[in-house]
Symmetry: C2
Subunit: 148 residues, 2 copies
Amino acid sequence: MQNSEAMALSAALLAVAGELTQRIHEGVVARGFEGVRPAHGFAFARLAPGGATVTELAAHLGVTKQAASQLVDEIVRKGYAERRPHPADARARLVVLTEQGWACTRAAEEAAAEAVGPWVELLGEGEVRALRDRLLRIAPYGPIRPAW
Amino acid sequence: MQNSEAMALSAALLAVAGELTQRIHEGVVARGFEGVRPAHGFAFARLAPGGATVTELAAHLGVTKQAASQLVDEIVRKGYAERRPHPADARARLVVLTEQGWACTRAAEEAAAEAVGPWVELLGEGEVRALRDRLLRIAPYGPIRPAW
DNA sequence: GTGAATGGTCAAGCTGCTTGACTATATGCA
DNA sequence: TGCATATAGTCAAGCAGCTTGACCATTCAC
């Protein structure tokens, strides 16, 4: 594949990702969840299954644990999560979503569906599913980092 | 399309975009261009055709013109671009790439091709082209914003 | 010609991240 | 068991990149 083609693919990918992030964020805000940033959504995704420690969250987000701890401070203060004693390690604390945190996560899913809607209209549902499947196959396992 | 499917698509897209950005950046640094950030690449892309004003660059990047001006300061100081008087407007200044700026842009294209290489191996060239075409059709015209 | 709009910069401030230092608990090994 | 080392987390300070606000020079509209 030519360099220019690879660059066009990259640019399109980053442009679409940036717009998608913005639209999801706007949709979440429109549903009444204020003071929440896109990065919080990535944190919620990691906390959702059954909670996580600050260190695990830091690894997931690709930042230092101090930064992750500050982020947790913020979402705790705003009522989206809470810190509980860790059941198996007295050093650690388990960060879990509150009901408001879950509601915000559901709002983000709705907003995502809304943002993807135009793609379905433009490409058709099958094509969008194909897009998803291809992306899932090349998606990394590592931390979720910002696009720039 | 279900909310959860839209969310999976979004997450995969953002993960791939984040990893791609990081790999291109690493590739550029590996080619000897230090002190350059991913955001500079988006600026170079806008400057490449025939230069641009600070205000145009700000619109392209989705930041204030003060921020764009600071970014231009930086890439000028590092030798990637220079400010010239604007041929048609004495208020404005045309920011153009230097030869080093062009070299860095070519390095970014090479790095992009390198980063996309594994996708071609995994999906095949036709599938990657299909991915590019679909992304290009849903790519926005607006500013290139960071993914989060 | 004159008032409003536009391109650009300077200065100050804020936010979110980093590095460095530290405490408390857990783990590995003599 | 006891002690050295590693790990979870926090506090504090600093920094980078962005924002808002103010300002000057030039251009545009009428």
